[in-house]
Protein backbone atom coordinates (compact mmCIF):
# COMPACT_ATOMS: atom_id res chain seq x y z
CA UNK A 1 0.00 0.00 0.00
CA UNK A 2 2.67 2.46 1.04
CA UNK A 3 4.54 1.65 -2.12
CA UNK A 4 1.58 2.62 -4.23
CA UNK A 5 1.05 5.83 -2.37
CA UNK A 6 4.70 6.62 -2.79
CA UNK A 7 4.33 5.85 -6.43
CA UNK A 8 1.46 8.30 -6.62
CA UNK A 9 3.47 10.93 -4.79
CA UNK A 10 6.42 10.29 -7.05
CA UNK A 11 4.28 10.72 -10.11
CA UNK A 12 3.33 14.17 -8.95
CA UNK A 13 6.83 15.02 -7.89
CA UNK A 14 8.20 13.82 -11.15
CA UNK A 15 6.01 16.21 -13.06
CA UNK A 16 7.21 19.04 -10.89
CA UNK A 17 10.72 17.90 -11.67
CA UNK A 18 11.80 17.68 -8.05
CA UNK A 19 13.76 15.03 -6.25
CA UNK A 20 11.68 12.39 -4.63
CA UNK A 21 12.51 9.73 -2.15
CA UNK A 22 9.98 8.93 0.48
CA UNK A 23 11.56 6.58 2.91
CA UNK A 24 10.02 7.01 6.33
CA UNK A 25 8.61 4.38 8.64
CA UNK A 26 5.04 5.43 9.32
CA UNK A 27 3.61 5.14 12.82
CA UNK A 28 0.11 3.74 13.21
CA UNK A 29 -1.37 7.23 13.12
CA UNK A 30 0.48 8.09 9.94
CA UNK A 31 -0.57 4.73 8.58
CA UNK A 32 -4.16 5.47 9.39
CA UNK A 33 -3.98 8.88 7.76
CA UNK A 34 -2.19 7.45 4.72
CA UNK A 35 -4.91 4.84 4.42
CA UNK A 36 -7.62 7.46 4.78
CA UNK A 37 -5.91 9.65 2.21
CA UNK A 38 -5.54 6.73 -0.15
CA UNK A 39 -9.17 5.77 0.25
CA UNK A 40 -10.33 9.34 -0.39
CA UNK A 41 -8.18 9.57 -3.47
CA UNK A 42 -9.53 6.25 -4.63
CA UNK A 43 -13.10 7.41 -4.06
CA UNK A 44 -12.27 10.54 -6.03
CA UNK A 45 -11.01 8.38 -8.89
CA UNK A 46 -14.19 6.36 -8.67
CA UNK A 47 -16.40 9.42 -9.11
CA UNK A 48 -14.27 10.76 -11.92
CA UNK A 49 -14.56 7.52 -13.85
CA UNK A 50 -18.22 7.10 -12.93
CA UNK A 51 -19.29 9.98 -15.11
CA UNK A 52 -17.07 9.32 -18.06
CA UNK A 53 -18.02 7.49 -21.22
CA UNK A 54 -18.26 4.51 -21.97
CA UNK A 55 -20.39 2.85 -19.32
CA UNK A 56 -19.64 -0.79 -18.66
CA UNK A 57 -23.28 -1.85 -18.47
CA UNK A 58 -22.62 -5.48 -19.26
CA UNK A 59 -19.98 -5.92 -16.60
CA UNK A 60 -22.16 -4.06 -14.09
CA UNK A 61 -25.09 -6.40 -14.70
CA UNK A 62 -22.85 -9.42 -14.53
CA UNK A 63 -21.44 -8.35 -11.17
CA UNK A 64 -24.89 -7.50 -9.78
CA UNK A 65 -26.23 -10.84 -10.84
CA UNK A 66 -23.29 -12.67 -9.31
CA UNK A 67 -23.52 -10.80 -6.02
CA UNK A 68 -27.26 -11.25 -5.74
CA UNK A 69 -27.22 -14.90 -6.59
CA UNK A 70 -24.34 -15.82 -4.33
CA UNK A 71 -25.84 -14.22 -1.22
CA UNK A 72 -29.57 -15.00 -1.59
CA UNK A 73 -29.58 -18.35 0.26
CA UNK A 74 -27.34 -17.16 3.07
CA UNK A 75 -29.33 -13.99 3.65
CA UNK A 76 -32.60 -15.90 3.38
CA UNK A 77 -31.68 -18.33 6.12
CA UNK A 78 -30.22 -15.75 8.49
CA UNK A 79 -33.13 -13.35 7.95
CA UNK A 80 -35.67 -16.07 8.67
CA UNK A 81 -33.93 -17.09 11.86
CA UNK A 82 -33.50 -13.44 12.85
CA UNK A 83 -37.22 -12.72 12.55
CA UNK A 84 -38.14 -15.94 14.31
CA UNK A 85 -35.75 -15.55 17.22
CA UNK A 86 -36.43 -11.87 17.71
CA UNK A 87 -40.15 -12.57 17.99
CA UNK A 88 -39.73 -15.51 20.35
CA UNK A 89 -37.38 -13.54 22.57
CA UNK A 90 -39.58 -10.45 22.77
CA UNK A 91 -42.79 -12.34 23.38
CA UNK A 92 -42.49 -13.11 27.15
CA UNK A 93 -41.88 -9.46 28.04
CA UNK A 94 -44.89 -8.27 26.10
CA UNK A 95 -47.04 -11.06 27.49
CA UNK A 96 -46.10 -9.92 31.01
CA UNK A 97 -47.45 -6.50 30.16
CA UNK A 98 -50.47 -7.98 28.48
CA UNK A 99 -49.47 -6.35 25.21
CA UNK A 100 -49.10 -9.42 23.03
CA UNK A 101 -50.80 -7.72 20.08
CA UNK A 102 -47.91 -5.28 19.91
CA UNK A 103 -45.50 -8.09 19.14
CA UNK A 104 -45.59 -7.91 15.31
CA UNK A 105 -45.32 -4.13 15.38
CA UNK A 106 -42.40 -4.08 17.73
CA UNK A 107 -40.52 -6.71 15.79
CA UNK A 108 -41.18 -5.01 12.46
CA UNK A 109 -39.87 -1.67 13.72
CA UNK A 110 -36.65 -3.20 14.97
CA UNK A 111 -36.18 -5.20 11.78
CA UNK A 112 -36.86 -2.39 9.34
CA UNK A 113 -35.02 0.29 11.24
CA UNK A 114 -31.98 -1.47 12.47
CA UNK A 115 -31.49 -5.19 12.58
CA UNK A 116 -32.37 -6.01 8.97
CA UNK A 117 -30.08 -3.43 7.38
CA UNK A 118 -27.15 -3.87 9.73
CA UNK A 119 -27.10 -7.67 9.92
CA UNK A 120 -27.58 -8.03 6.19
CA UNK A 121 -24.91 -5.45 5.48
CA UNK A 122 -22.51 -7.28 7.78
CA UNK A 123 -23.22 -10.56 6.03
CA UNK A 124 -22.63 -8.85 2.70
CA UNK A 125 -19.40 -7.34 3.98
CA UNK A 126 -18.29 -10.85 4.84
CA UNK A 127 -19.43 -12.47 1.65
CA UNK A 128 -19.30 -9.79 -1.07
CA UNK A 129 -16.67 -7.45 0.39
CA UNK A 130 -14.15 -10.19 1.01
CA UNK A 131 -14.90 -11.66 -2.42
CA UNK A 132 -14.15 -8.36 -4.12
CA UNK A 133 -11.01 -7.87 -2.02
CA UNK A 134 -9.72 -11.32 -2.87
CA UNK A 135 -10.64 -11.13 -6.54
CA UNK A 136 -9.07 -7.75 -7.21
CA UNK A 137 -6.18 -8.65 -4.95
CA UNK A 138 -5.34 -11.73 -6.94
CA UNK A 139 -5.78 -9.80 -10.15
CA UNK A 140 -3.30 -7.27 -8.84
CA UNK A 141 -0.63 -9.72 -7.73
CA UNK A 142 -0.87 -11.82 -10.91
CA UNK A 143 -0.51 -8.60 -12.94
CA UNK A 144 -3.96 -8.94 -14.51
CA UNK A 145 -4.77 -5.35 -13.57
CA UNK A 146 -1.55 -4.20 -15.22
CA UNK A 147 -2.42 -6.27 -18.27
CA UNK A 148 -5.78 -4.58 -18.45
CA UNK A 149 -4.16 -1.21 -18.22
CA UNK A 150 -1.74 -1.88 -21.05
CA UNK A 151 -4.48 -3.22 -23.27
CA UNK A 152 -6.19 0.13 -23.21
CA UNK A 153 -8.80 -0.54 -20.53
CA UNK A 154 -9.04 1.61 -17.48
CA UNK A 155 -9.16 -0.92 -14.64
CA UNK A 156 -10.77 1.58 -12.28
CA UNK A 157 -13.62 1.92 -14.71
CA UNK A 158 -13.90 -1.68 -15.73
CA UNK A 159 -13.32 -3.38 -12.39
CA UNK A 160 -13.93 -0.84 -9.66
CA UNK A 161 -16.79 1.32 -10.92
CA UNK A 162 -18.85 -1.69 -11.97
CA UNK A 163 -18.37 -3.48 -8.68
CA UNK A 164 -19.01 -0.48 -6.48
CA UNK A 165 -22.17 0.37 -8.42
CA UNK A 166 -23.26 -3.23 -8.19
CA UNK A 167 -22.92 -3.31 -4.40
CA UNK A 168 -24.54 0.12 -4.09
CA UNK A 169 -27.66 -1.11 -5.86
CA UNK A 170 -27.71 -4.77 -4.90
CA UNK A 171 -27.25 -4.43 -1.15
CA UNK A 172 -30.37 -2.26 -0.66
CA UNK A 173 -32.30 -4.86 -2.63
CA UNK A 174 -30.86 -7.68 -0.59
CA UNK A 175 -31.78 -5.81 2.58
CA UNK A 176 -35.33 -5.39 1.31
CA UNK A 177 -35.46 -9.10 0.61
CA UNK A 178 -34.00 -9.86 4.01
CA UNK A 179 -36.63 -7.69 5.74
CA UNK A 180 -39.39 -9.53 3.92
CA UNK A 181 -38.04 -12.93 4.95
CA UNK A 182 -37.64 -11.75 8.53
CA UNK A 183 -41.29 -10.76 8.55
CA UNK A 184 -42.14 -14.24 7.46
CA UNK A 185 -39.96 -15.67 10.25
CA UNK A 186 -41.72 -13.44 12.71
CA UNK A 187 -45.12 -14.56 11.41
CA UNK A 188 -44.13 -18.19 11.92
CA UNK A 189 -43.02 -17.42 15.48
CA UNK A 190 -46.23 -15.59 16.35
CA UNK A 191 -48.18 -18.57 15.03
CA UNK A 192 -46.40 -20.97 17.34
CA UNK A 193 -48.59 -19.66 20.15
CA UNK A 194 -52.00 -19.67 18.57
CA UNK A 195 -53.17 -18.82 15.09
CA UNK A 196 -53.23 -15.31 13.74
CA UNK A 197 -54.19 -14.62 10.13
CA UNK A 198 -51.62 -13.16 7.72
CA UNK A 199 -53.85 -10.12 7.19
CA UNK A 200 -53.99 -9.35 10.89
CA UNK A 201 -50.25 -9.92 11.23
CA UNK A 202 -49.53 -7.51 8.42
CA UNK A 203 -51.86 -4.88 9.80
CA UNK A 204 -50.27 -5.17 13.22
CA UNK A 205 -46.76 -5.18 11.81
CA UNK A 206 -47.16 -2.18 9.54
CA UNK A 207 -49.24 -0.08 11.88
CA UNK A 208 -46.36 1.45 13.85
CA UNK A 209 -44.13 1.90 10.78
CA UNK A 210 -43.92 5.49 9.60
CA UNK A 211 -42.18 7.07 6.69
CA UNK A 212 -39.45 8.35 8.98
CA UNK A 213 -38.75 4.74 9.89
CA UNK A 214 -38.57 3.57 6.35
CA UNK A 215 -36.95 6.44 4.46
CA UNK A 216 -33.75 6.88 6.50
CA UNK A 217 -33.44 3.12 6.86
CA UNK A 218 -33.58 2.79 3.09
CA UNK A 219 -31.21 5.64 2.39
CA UNK A 220 -28.54 4.29 4.70
CA UNK A 221 -28.58 0.93 2.91
CA UNK A 222 -27.20 2.62 -0.20
CA UNK A 223 -24.34 3.96 1.86
CA UNK A 224 -23.73 0.50 3.31
CA UNK A 225 -23.55 -0.87 -0.22
CA UNK A 226 -21.22 1.84 -1.40
CA UNK A 227 -18.92 1.40 1.61
CA UNK A 228 -18.68 -2.37 1.15
CA UNK A 229 -17.90 -1.98 -2.56
CA UNK A 230 -15.38 0.82 -2.36
CA UNK A 231 -13.48 -0.62 0.60
CA UNK A 232 -13.32 -4.10 -0.94
CA UNK A 233 -12.08 -2.64 -4.20
CA UNK A 234 -9.59 -0.35 -2.51
CA UNK A 235 -8.02 -3.10 -0.45
CA UNK A 236 -7.90 -5.48 -3.39
CA UNK A 237 -6.70 -2.94 -5.91
CA UNK A 238 -3.72 -1.94 -3.82
CA UNK A 239 -2.80 -5.30 -2.38
CA UNK A 240 0.88 -6.18 -2.40
CA UNK A 241 3.19 -8.98 -1.33
CA UNK A 242 1.91 -11.83 -3.43
CA UNK A 243 -0.63 -14.38 -2.32
CA UNK A 244 -0.24 -13.44 1.32
CA UNK A 245 -1.33 -9.93 0.41
CA UNK A 246 -4.49 -11.29 -1.21
CA UNK A 247 -5.57 -12.88 2.05
CA UNK A 248 -4.75 -9.71 3.90
CA UNK A 249 -6.72 -7.63 1.42
CA UNK A 250 -9.80 -9.84 1.79
CA UNK A 251 -9.49 -9.83 5.54
CA UNK A 252 -9.06 -6.11 5.99
CA UNK A 253 -11.85 -5.44 3.49
CA UNK A 254 -14.23 -7.25 5.84
CA UNK A 255 -12.88 -5.70 9.02
CA UNK A 256 -12.86 -2.14 7.76
CA UNK A 257 -16.20 -2.28 6.00
CA UNK A 258 -17.88 -3.83 9.05
CA UNK A 259 -16.55 -1.01 11.15
CA UNK A 260 -17.65 1.58 8.60
CA UNK A 261 -21.15 0.04 8.51
CA UNK A 262 -21.53 0.75 12.22
CA UNK A 263 -20.18 4.27 11.81
CA UNK A 264 -22.63 4.97 8.98
CA UNK A 265 -25.40 3.52 11.13
CA UNK A 266 -24.48 5.83 13.97
CA UNK A 267 -24.50 8.87 11.70
CA UNK A 268 -27.79 7.78 10.14
CA UNK A 269 -29.43 7.46 13.54
CA UNK A 270 -28.29 10.94 14.55
CA UNK A 271 -29.47 12.44 11.29
CA UNK A 272 -32.86 10.79 11.37
CA UNK A 273 -33.34 11.96 14.97
CA UNK A 274 -32.70 15.51 13.84
CA UNK A 275 -35.01 15.17 10.86
CA UNK A 276 -37.66 13.64 13.09
CA UNK A 277 -37.51 16.54 15.52
CA UNK A 278 -37.78 19.09 12.75
CA UNK A 279 -40.62 17.30 11.02
CA UNK A 280 -42.78 17.46 14.14
Amino acid sequence: MKKYLNNIFNRKKHKEGKKSTYDFKPSWLQNFLLELGGLSRFTGNFFRELFSYPFEIKEFLKQSYRMGLSTLPLIGITAFIMGLVLTLQSRPVLVDFGAESWLPGMVSVSIVREIGPVITALICAGKIGSGIGAELGSMRVTEQIDAMEVSGTNPIKYLVVTRVLATTFMIPMLIFYSDAISFYGSYVAVNMHGFISPQLFITQAFDPLHYFDIVPATIKTFFFGFAIGIIGCYKGYYSTNGTEGVGRAANSAVVISSLVIFIIDLIAVQLSEIIHIFSI
Binding site: K3, H14, T21, A147, E149, V150, T153
Partner: protein, 256 residues
Protein backbone atom coordinates in the same frame (compact mmCIF):
# COMPACT_ATOMS: atom_id res chain seq x y z
CA UNK B 1 13.63 16.11 -19.24
CA UNK B 2 12.24 19.59 -18.66
CA UNK B 3 12.22 20.70 -22.25
CA UNK B 4 9.34 18.69 -23.59
CA UNK B 5 8.71 21.25 -26.29
CA UNK B 6 11.08 19.80 -28.83
CA UNK B 7 9.02 16.64 -29.36
CA UNK B 8 8.87 17.41 -33.06
CA UNK B 9 12.63 17.14 -33.34
CA UNK B 10 12.41 13.45 -32.67
CA UNK B 11 10.09 12.47 -35.46
CA UNK B 12 12.82 12.36 -38.05
CA UNK B 13 14.99 9.73 -36.39
CA UNK B 14 14.28 6.05 -36.54
CA UNK B 15 14.45 5.16 -32.86
CA UNK B 16 11.19 3.84 -31.51
CA UNK B 17 12.34 3.76 -27.90
CA UNK B 18 14.81 6.21 -26.39
CA UNK B 19 15.64 6.00 -22.72
CA UNK B 20 18.01 8.47 -21.13
CA UNK B 21 19.38 8.54 -17.58
CA UNK B 22 16.49 6.52 -16.24
CA UNK B 23 16.50 6.12 -12.47
CA UNK B 24 14.13 4.23 -10.19
CA UNK B 25 14.24 3.37 -6.50
CA UNK B 26 11.91 1.31 -4.36
CA UNK B 27 11.86 2.02 -0.63
CA UNK B 28 15.18 3.81 -0.80
CA UNK B 29 16.83 0.96 -2.69
CA UNK B 30 17.99 2.10 -6.11
CA UNK B 31 17.07 -0.54 -8.66
CA UNK B 32 17.82 1.36 -11.85
CA UNK B 33 20.63 3.91 -11.63
CA UNK B 34 21.41 5.25 -15.03
CA UNK B 35 19.80 3.42 -17.90
CA UNK B 36 20.39 4.56 -21.45
CA UNK B 37 18.86 2.58 -24.26
CA UNK B 38 17.84 3.27 -27.81
CA UNK B 39 15.94 0.76 -29.87
CA UNK B 40 15.74 1.14 -33.62
CA UNK B 41 12.79 0.24 -35.76
CA UNK B 42 12.74 -3.46 -36.53
CA UNK B 43 15.44 -4.31 -34.02
CA UNK B 44 15.45 -7.08 -31.43
CA UNK B 45 17.23 -6.16 -28.23
CA UNK B 46 17.81 -8.88 -25.67
CA UNK B 47 18.33 -7.98 -22.02
CA UNK B 48 20.15 -10.42 -19.78
CA UNK B 49 20.59 -10.03 -16.07
CA UNK B 50 20.37 -11.76 -12.75
CA UNK B 51 17.05 -12.35 -11.08
CA UNK B 52 15.71 -9.34 -9.18
CA UNK B 53 18.07 -6.90 -10.86
CA UNK B 54 15.28 -4.74 -12.31
CA UNK B 55 14.64 -6.02 -15.83
CA UNK B 56 10.91 -6.18 -15.41
CA UNK B 57 10.88 -2.78 -13.74
CA UNK B 58 12.69 -1.32 -16.74
CA UNK B 59 10.18 -2.49 -19.32
CA UNK B 60 7.27 -1.55 -17.07
CA UNK B 61 8.62 1.98 -17.07
CA UNK B 62 8.46 1.96 -20.86
CA UNK B 63 4.71 1.36 -20.95
CA UNK B 64 4.04 3.68 -18.03
CA UNK B 65 3.08 1.02 -15.49
CA UNK B 66 5.84 2.23 -13.18
CA UNK B 67 6.79 5.85 -12.89
CA UNK B 68 10.51 6.55 -12.96
CA UNK B 69 12.10 8.88 -10.42
CA UNK B 70 14.26 10.58 -12.98
CA UNK B 71 15.16 10.46 -16.62
CA UNK B 72 13.37 10.44 -19.90
CA UNK B 73 11.59 7.67 -21.79
CA UNK B 74 10.45 8.37 -25.29
CA UNK B 75 8.30 5.93 -27.21
CA UNK B 76 7.65 6.83 -30.84
CA UNK B 77 9.32 10.16 -30.05
CA UNK B 78 6.90 11.06 -27.26
CA UNK B 79 7.80 11.41 -23.61
CA UNK B 80 5.96 8.70 -21.65
CA UNK B 81 6.16 10.47 -18.29
CA UNK B 82 4.32 13.47 -19.71
CA UNK B 83 1.57 11.65 -21.53
CA UNK B 84 -2.05 12.11 -20.53
CA UNK B 85 -4.48 9.20 -20.33
CA UNK B 86 -5.46 9.33 -23.96
CA UNK B 87 -1.93 9.51 -25.28
CA UNK B 88 -0.90 6.71 -22.97
CA UNK B 89 -3.69 4.49 -24.27
CA UNK B 90 -2.82 5.33 -27.84
CA UNK B 91 0.80 4.42 -27.20
CA UNK B 92 -0.18 1.21 -25.43
CA UNK B 93 -2.21 -0.08 -28.35
CA UNK B 94 0.98 0.11 -30.39
CA UNK B 95 3.16 -1.52 -27.74
CA UNK B 96 2.62 -5.13 -26.78
CA UNK B 97 3.62 -6.34 -23.35
CA UNK B 98 4.07 -9.95 -22.38
CA UNK B 99 3.98 -10.35 -18.64
CA UNK B 100 6.35 -12.61 -16.83
CA UNK B 101 3.42 -14.11 -14.93
CA UNK B 102 1.32 -14.29 -18.13
CA UNK B 103 -1.46 -12.24 -16.52
CA UNK B 104 -4.26 -14.14 -18.23
CA UNK B 105 -7.68 -13.11 -16.96
CA UNK B 106 -8.79 -16.00 -14.74
CA UNK B 107 -12.45 -15.21 -15.02
CA UNK B 108 -12.51 -15.41 -18.79
CA UNK B 109 -12.09 -18.24 -21.28
CA UNK B 110 -9.14 -18.29 -23.64
CA UNK B 111 -11.35 -16.89 -26.38
CA UNK B 112 -12.53 -14.01 -24.19
CA UNK B 113 -8.97 -13.34 -23.13
CA UNK B 114 -7.95 -12.92 -26.74
CA UNK B 115 -11.02 -10.92 -27.67
CA UNK B 116 -10.52 -8.55 -24.77
CA UNK B 117 -7.86 -6.28 -26.31
CA UNK B 118 -9.67 -6.26 -29.65
CA UNK B 119 -13.04 -5.32 -28.26
CA UNK B 120 -11.71 -2.88 -25.71
CA UNK B 121 -9.88 -0.86 -28.27
CA UNK B 122 -12.86 -0.82 -30.60
CA UNK B 123 -10.60 -1.64 -33.48
CA UNK B 124 -12.90 -4.31 -34.80
CA UNK B 125 -16.51 -4.86 -33.96
CA UNK B 126 -17.47 -7.48 -36.49
CA UNK B 127 -17.99 -10.81 -34.73
CA UNK B 128 -16.75 -12.89 -37.63
CA UNK B 129 -13.61 -10.86 -38.07
CA UNK B 130 -12.84 -11.12 -34.36
CA UNK B 131 -13.31 -14.89 -34.54
CA UNK B 132 -10.92 -15.09 -37.45
CA UNK B 133 -8.28 -13.04 -35.70
CA UNK B 134 -8.59 -15.09 -32.53
CA UNK B 135 -8.25 -18.28 -34.51
CA UNK B 136 -5.25 -16.95 -36.39
CA UNK B 137 -3.56 -15.82 -33.19
CA UNK B 138 -4.08 -19.23 -31.61
CA UNK B 139 -2.81 -20.95 -34.71
CA UNK B 140 0.39 -18.89 -34.50
CA UNK B 141 1.09 -20.42 -31.11
CA UNK B 142 -0.32 -23.83 -32.05
CA UNK B 143 -3.14 -23.95 -29.53
CA UNK B 144 -6.40 -23.78 -31.43
CA UNK B 145 -7.92 -26.65 -29.46
CA UNK B 146 -8.04 -24.91 -26.08
CA UNK B 147 -10.13 -21.97 -27.26
CA UNK B 148 -13.01 -22.56 -24.87
CA UNK B 149 -11.01 -23.56 -21.81
CA UNK B 150 -10.40 -21.46 -18.74
CA UNK B 151 -6.79 -20.40 -18.04
CA UNK B 152 -6.77 -22.47 -14.84
CA UNK B 153 -7.27 -25.61 -16.94
CA UNK B 154 -4.12 -25.01 -18.97
CA UNK B 155 -0.55 -26.02 -18.31
CA UNK B 156 2.06 -23.39 -17.55
CA UNK B 157 3.54 -23.51 -21.03
CA UNK B 158 0.13 -23.27 -22.65
CA UNK B 159 -0.66 -20.22 -20.57
CA UNK B 160 2.56 -18.61 -21.70
CA UNK B 161 1.67 -19.22 -25.31
CA UNK B 162 -1.86 -17.90 -24.87
CA UNK B 163 -0.48 -14.75 -23.32
CA UNK B 164 1.80 -14.36 -26.35
CA UNK B 165 -1.18 -14.79 -28.63
CA UNK B 166 -3.19 -12.24 -26.69
CA UNK B 167 -0.47 -9.63 -27.03
CA UNK B 168 0.29 -10.30 -30.66
CA UNK B 169 -3.35 -10.16 -31.73
CA UNK B 170 -3.18 -6.36 -31.86
CA UNK B 171 -0.12 -6.53 -34.16
CA UNK B 172 1.92 -4.13 -32.04
CA UNK B 173 4.86 -2.21 -33.47
CA UNK B 174 6.93 -2.66 -30.34
CA UNK B 175 6.80 -5.82 -28.27
CA UNK B 176 8.22 -6.14 -24.80
CA UNK B 177 8.71 -9.79 -23.92
CA UNK B 178 9.27 -10.58 -20.26
CA UNK B 179 10.82 -14.06 -20.29
CA UNK B 180 8.79 -15.50 -23.16
CA UNK B 181 10.38 -18.95 -23.04
CA UNK B 182 10.73 -19.55 -19.32
CA UNK B 183 9.11 -22.79 -18.29
CA UNK B 184 8.76 -24.13 -21.80
CA UNK B 185 10.29 -27.28 -23.20
CA UNK B 186 13.20 -26.79 -25.63
CA UNK B 187 11.02 -27.54 -28.63
CA UNK B 188 8.36 -25.01 -27.79
CA UNK B 189 11.00 -22.48 -26.77
CA UNK B 190 12.49 -22.80 -30.20
CA UNK B 191 9.07 -22.28 -31.76
CA UNK B 192 8.58 -19.15 -29.68
CA UNK B 193 11.99 -17.82 -30.69
CA UNK B 194 11.10 -18.44 -34.29
CA UNK B 195 7.78 -16.71 -33.79
CA UNK B 196 9.57 -13.68 -32.35
CA UNK B 197 11.74 -13.52 -35.44
CA UNK B 198 8.81 -14.01 -37.77
CA UNK B 199 7.01 -11.12 -36.15
CA UNK B 200 10.08 -8.97 -36.46
CA UNK B 201 10.37 -9.71 -40.16
CA UNK B 202 6.71 -9.74 -41.07
CA UNK B 203 5.57 -6.61 -39.30
CA UNK B 204 8.88 -4.75 -38.94
CA UNK B 205 8.31 -4.86 -35.20
CA UNK B 206 10.90 -3.85 -32.65
CA UNK B 207 11.29 -5.93 -29.53
CA UNK B 208 12.91 -5.93 -26.16
CA UNK B 209 13.28 -9.49 -24.99
CA UNK B 210 14.11 -10.29 -21.40
CA UNK B 211 15.33 -13.84 -21.10
CA UNK B 212 17.51 -16.27 -19.23
CA UNK B 213 17.42 -18.63 -22.18
CA UNK B 214 20.66 -18.35 -24.15
CA UNK B 215 19.31 -20.18 -27.14
CA UNK B 216 16.44 -17.73 -27.37
CA UNK B 217 18.91 -14.85 -26.96
CA UNK B 218 21.08 -16.23 -29.70
CA UNK B 219 18.25 -16.81 -32.13
CA UNK B 220 16.40 -13.56 -31.62
CA UNK B 221 18.93 -10.90 -30.72
CA UNK B 222 20.36 -8.21 -32.90
CA UNK B 223 21.95 -6.77 -29.80
CA UNK B 224 22.37 -7.95 -26.23
CA UNK B 225 22.58 -5.82 -23.10
CA UNK B 226 23.52 -7.10 -19.68
CA UNK B 227 21.90 -5.33 -16.77
CA UNK B 228 23.83 -5.22 -13.53
CA UNK B 229 23.73 -2.83 -10.55
CA UNK B 230 21.29 -0.49 -12.22
CA UNK B 231 23.27 0.10 -15.40
CA UNK B 232 23.97 -1.75 -18.61
CA UNK B 233 27.20 -3.45 -17.72
CA UNK B 234 27.97 -4.76 -21.17
CA UNK B 235 26.53 -4.58 -24.63
CA UNK B 236 27.18 -6.16 -27.99
CA UNK B 237 26.10 -8.89 -30.34
CA UNK B 238 25.72 -12.45 -29.10
CA UNK B 239 29.07 -13.51 -30.50
CA UNK B 240 30.84 -10.41 -29.16
CA UNK B 241 29.67 -11.06 -25.66
CA UNK B 242 30.24 -14.78 -25.85
CA UNK B 243 33.91 -14.21 -26.57
CA UNK B 244 34.18 -11.36 -24.04
CA UNK B 245 36.92 -11.80 -21.45
CA UNK B 246 35.19 -10.08 -18.56
CA UNK B 247 34.49 -12.76 -15.95
CA UNK B 248 31.04 -11.41 -15.15
CA UNK B 249 29.98 -11.38 -18.78
CA UNK B 250 31.51 -14.79 -19.23
CA UNK B 251 29.43 -16.16 -16.40
CA UNK B 252 26.29 -15.59 -18.46
CA UNK B 253 27.55 -17.67 -21.33
CA UNK B 254 28.81 -20.72 -19.51
CA UNK B 255 27.05 -23.72 -20.97
CA UNK B 256 27.14 -27.27 -19.77
Amino acid sequence: MENNKDILNNTNNNYVIEIEHLQKSFDGRMILKDINLKVKKSENVVILGKSGIGKSVLIKCIVGLIFPDKGSIKVFGKEVTQMNHKELNEMRTRVGFIFQSNALYDSMTVRENLEFPLRRNKIINDKKEIDNLVYEALENVGLTDVIDKMPAELSGGMRKRISLARTLILKPEIILYDEPTTGLDPLTSREISKLINTIQNKYNASSIIITHDLECAKRTSNRILILQDGIFYAKGSFDDLKTNNDPFVKSFFITV
